[in-house]
């Protein structure tokens, strides 16, 4: 029976209307507050660097220029960086998501005798770290340094994402799996055929987390592929650029000869806009999976 129709026929109560008004106001205020820094950053990115130093730029550039962008795009290695970044983002998202999801699934098996041990084993990894140097030495022994795989293989199983997915899977009805088991299906089959399709919202969420993390990573490129230009990443190239314009003052010798027209603030703004754009564009594609009401409905039994 169609409850939806009925609801539309129902009269909306005063409380509902008050709620809607209050909600609209709150969210509008929220949008204004969060939109401001974004627009401000875009405005600064299109404004002359020296002019922007005076401040007073809010929503619109005062002295329009594309120089900040051309400065950001000047370096030839940016293209290599972009390729590697796209590659690592795609590859890591697919691998991390599938591997971690499988672990999450295994750990939802309520009678699995090692579930608790393995959960604990991974939970601990969120809070301990051997530090930069020991980690480096391990990666070096494994042949991961000076290689592309250092971006993909470490971190493939993440406790945080596992917990998020496990929680979601725990909310799924048991009966689905039980009936499949009666038909003689193994765990892997059940995972791929039955559980995974139901997990689209949480997969989309976790995929977004992984993709954004990968997209924004630069420290690993700097640490493990410092001398390997062919494995540089977009964000690392931008970080190099930013630190060269930002800290030039830290050394009298370097600034002596610079006399740059661009300033750290304006270049940073341009770099932010340029690098956020692609990943922000990815969002609408994932969004439909995790906004209730945009999806066809919740999990149906």
């Amino acid at each position: 029976m169609s409850l939806t129709k009925k609801r539309h026929c129902m009269k909306r109560s005063k409380g509902d209307i008050a709620f809607t008004i209050a909600n609209t106001l709150i969210l509008t205020a929220f949008v204004v507050i969060t939109l401001y820094p974004i627009i401000n950053t875009v405005a600064i990115s299109f404004n002359d660097g020296l002019d922007a130093l005076r401040g007073g730029i809010y929503l619109w550039p005062r002295m329009f220029t594309l120089q900040n962008y051309s400065t950001v795009l000047a370096k030839d290695s940016l293209l290599t960086g972009a390729k590697i970044t796209v590659l690592r983002t795609v590859l890591a998202t697919v691998i991390h998501l599938s591997v971690t999801a499988l672990l999450a699934y295994v750990l939802t098996q309520k009678d699995y005798i090692f579930a608790k041990h393995i959960s604990f084993f991974y939970v601990v990894t969120m809070y301990v770290s051997g530090g930069l140097i020991p980690t480096f030495l391990v990666y070096k022994e494994l042949g991961l340094t000076n290689s592309f795989w250092v971006y993909v293989i470490p971190g493939a199983v993440s406790a945080f994402n596992m917990l998020v997915m496990r929680t979601y899977m725990n909310g799924l009805p048991d009966s689905l799996q039980e009936s499949a088991q009666l038909d003689g299906a193994g765990y892997l089959t059940i995972f791929v055929r039955i559980i995974a399709p139901l997990c689209k919202p949480v997969f989309a969420t976790v995929a977004l987390f992984i993709a954004v993390y990968q997209w924004n990573s630069w420290f690993d490129a700097m640490l493990y592929n410092r001398m390997k230009d062919e494995y540089t990443t977009l964000q690392y190239e931008l970080m190099k650029l930013l630190s060269s314009v930002t800290n030039q003052g830290a050394n009298a010798q370097t600034i002596k000869n610079s006399g740059n027209q661009v300033t750290p603030t304006s270049v940073r703004a341009a770099a932010t806009v340029l690098t956020s754009l692609p990943i922000v564009c990815l969002y609408p594609f994932l969004q439909r999976y995790f906004i209730a009401g945009l999806t066809i409905g919740g999990v149906k039994e």
């Binding site: 140097i133 003052g249 002596k256 610079s258 006399g259 027209q261």
Partner: protein
């Protein structure tokens, strides 16, 4: 293809004009050697097919890929390199220098240098002695402050009390000698002119206190006492006494003055909480009449002022002292920083090739390519052999896109400053006096003339010959918390960061000053700090006088 022809022509022209220096072996069809370098300081990476880099490579048969510090401290980066044993061929370790030395990660240059005269003659015997490590070997080559001929600096790049020319003009270009005079002029000006023409309120004096840049607040006392910038202490050149400048009578007087002016509203109330960006923003509007800072630190702000055409709001330096009769020493001759330099690491497979590379970079031809660029493209030469630049060439020199693709100064490799070997030109365009005068505004010219000066540098006392220990900051920069003195040094910074602003803002200055002294003496082992400085002082004096370090 085109590029190669160009380089070849250049190589020929240069071979023809061979100067005093040893001409690098011309690279014919041999393979270009590629070295790698890591400098633990921020810097700009250049493109792989950079024009000047290729021109230099065509000339000397070698190039080097420079990488710079990104997102780490120098110590972290150097520590990583040592731990991982993945050394580039060359390194500038910056504040990680002692770690590199500890690890024995450099090659002793003096064992090879007989074949590389440009390197060996780069410093004098006594200067090299200062660079010598405890084992008597030389591991690094200092890059900066080596002057050929005379120093052509026109701009005072270092610290001073700065004041806008409009203030001096309004006051009739008075003699300003003491801190008292300085604030009097500012007070009078601001009383007569509370706002700028467009109505923006003027700010009398602002102070930058952010992180390491708080030298703008804290180190003036030794300048006011007439001592040069040793950075961490005062050293009495007569008695060789090491004095802590943080608690002297002068320091108290200086902070009392800031406190007084703060309450009068002359000192910007945001001084102690503003960020560097906010400080530069304030300066950029042209509304700040004066401040104490190093020129390179606020240079971008000044450029912004010029861009708006507010020429009378740019700054000239003043060498203030606490009372009349003290000789000021704000401008120092460029000093050899021996605490740092370029080294060849144990990861380098071709030490001789690396040394040859450094040797060749010091030849005049390559120096010109590094700092002036390519003739006819980056600069022009007039009939007298004087280098000059067109408007377009000047614009190129400030454009990042252009520099990344075309210019290669190997800025952290050894270089000669001062004059070129031709005796006509300065080592780099920014030091070419003719280039400087072109860029000077009428307001500044008038102001300088009123004080009988032609350059910014002449606003201050001429520099004297540096003392053998100068500058002591090259020692304190490398102090670590492993020694009691180093602990004290870190603690001093911590206490000063918190209490000096409080002292300036306090309603009751005397009480705040007492509190500061109390905490300072309580938390910092000043004696240990001064002791270590004194030890280094005597070591340096001994080295300079030819005694061995042992």
């Amino acid at each position: 293809m085109k590029r190669r022809t160009l380089s070849l022509t250049m190589a020929l022209t240069m071979a023809a004009s061979m100067g005093l220096s040893v001409m690098p072996a011309a690279a014919e069809e041999q393979e270009v050697k590629e070295f790698t370098a890591f400098h633990a300081v921020p810097g700009t990476e250049i493109n792989d097919d950079n024009v000047c880099q290729d021109a230099i490579a065509a000339l000397i048969g070698a190039k080097c890929k420079d990488t710079w510090l990104t997102g780490q401290t120098a110590e972290e980066a150097v520590g990583m390199i040592i731990a991982s044993e993945e050394y580039p061929d060359f390194m500038t370790a910056s504040t990680g220098h002692s770690m590199m030395m500890d690890a024995g990660a450099y090659i002793a240059i003096d064992e090879y240098w007989d074949n590389y005269p440009n390197i060996k003659n780069y410093l004098s015997e006594s200067e090299w002695n200062k660079v010598r490590a405890e084992d008597g070997h030389i591991y690094i080559i200092p890059q900066f402050g080596i002057i050929n001929g005379h120093d052509t600096s026109t701009v005072h790049n270092d610290e001073a009390f700065w004041i806008q020319t409009r203030v001096l003009k309004w006051a009739g270009y008075p003699d300003i000698v003491t801190l008292e005079d300085y604030f009097n002029v500012i007070e009078e000006y601001i009383e007569a002119n509370p706002t700028m023409e467009d109505g923006t309120p003027n700010i009398g004096y602002t102070i930058l206190c952010e992180d390491w840049r708080y030298f703008c607040l804290e180190n003036a006392p030794f300048f006011l006492d007439g001592y040069p910038n040793d950075g961490c202490v005062i050293i009495d050149p007569e008695t060789l006494e090491v004095i802590d400048y943080n608690t002297t009578e002068t320091a108290k007087e200086y902070f009392a003055k800031l406190n007084e002016e703060f309450h009068k509203g002359i000192v910007d109330p945001e001084s102690f909480t503003q960020t560097y960006d906010q400080y530069i923003a304030k300066l950029s509007t042209g509304r700040v009449l004066g401040m104490c800072d190093q020129h390179w630190d606020f240079q971008t702000g000044e450029e912004a002022i010029k861009q708006q055409g507010l020429d009378d709001c740019t700054y000239v330096p003043l060498g203030l002292v606490i009372e009349e009769g003290i000789e000021e020493h704000y401008h120092s001759a460029s000093a050899l920083d021996v605490s740092n330099g370029l080294g060849i690491t144990i990861g380098c497979d071709d030490v001789e090739g690396a040394l040859q590379f450094v040797n060749d970079l010091l030849s005049q031809e390559v120096q010109t390519l590094r700092f002036w660029g390519i003739e006819g493209v980056d600069y022009e030469v007039d009939e007298n052999g004087l280098f000059y630049r067109t408007e377009e060439q000047r614009a190129n020199a400030t454009s990042t896109e252009y520099k990344v693709a075309n210019r290669c100064d190997y800025s952290y490799f050894p270089q000669y400053e001062g004059m070129n070997l031709d005796g006509i030109n300065a080592w780099s365009p920014d030091y070419q006096p003719t280039e400087f005068y072109e860029s000077l505004s009428e307001d500044v010219k008038e102001c300088l003339a009123a004080y009988g000066a032609e350059t910014y540098v002449e606003m201050l006392n001429p520099s004297e010959e540096n003392q053998p220990w100068f500058p002591m900051w090259s020692f304190s920069n490398n102090m670590t918390t492993e020694t009691p003195g180093g602990m004290a040094w870190t603690n001093m910074a911590e206490v000063k960061h918190e209490y000096l602003p409080k002292v300036c803002m306090a309603e009751d200055f005397e009480a705040a000053w007492e509190e500061y002294l109390g905490v300072y003496n309580d938390r910092c082992d000043i004696e240990a700090f001064l002791g270590e400085i004194e030890e280094e002082l005597h070591r340096r004096i001994a080295v300079a006088s030819g005694e061995t370090a042992e």
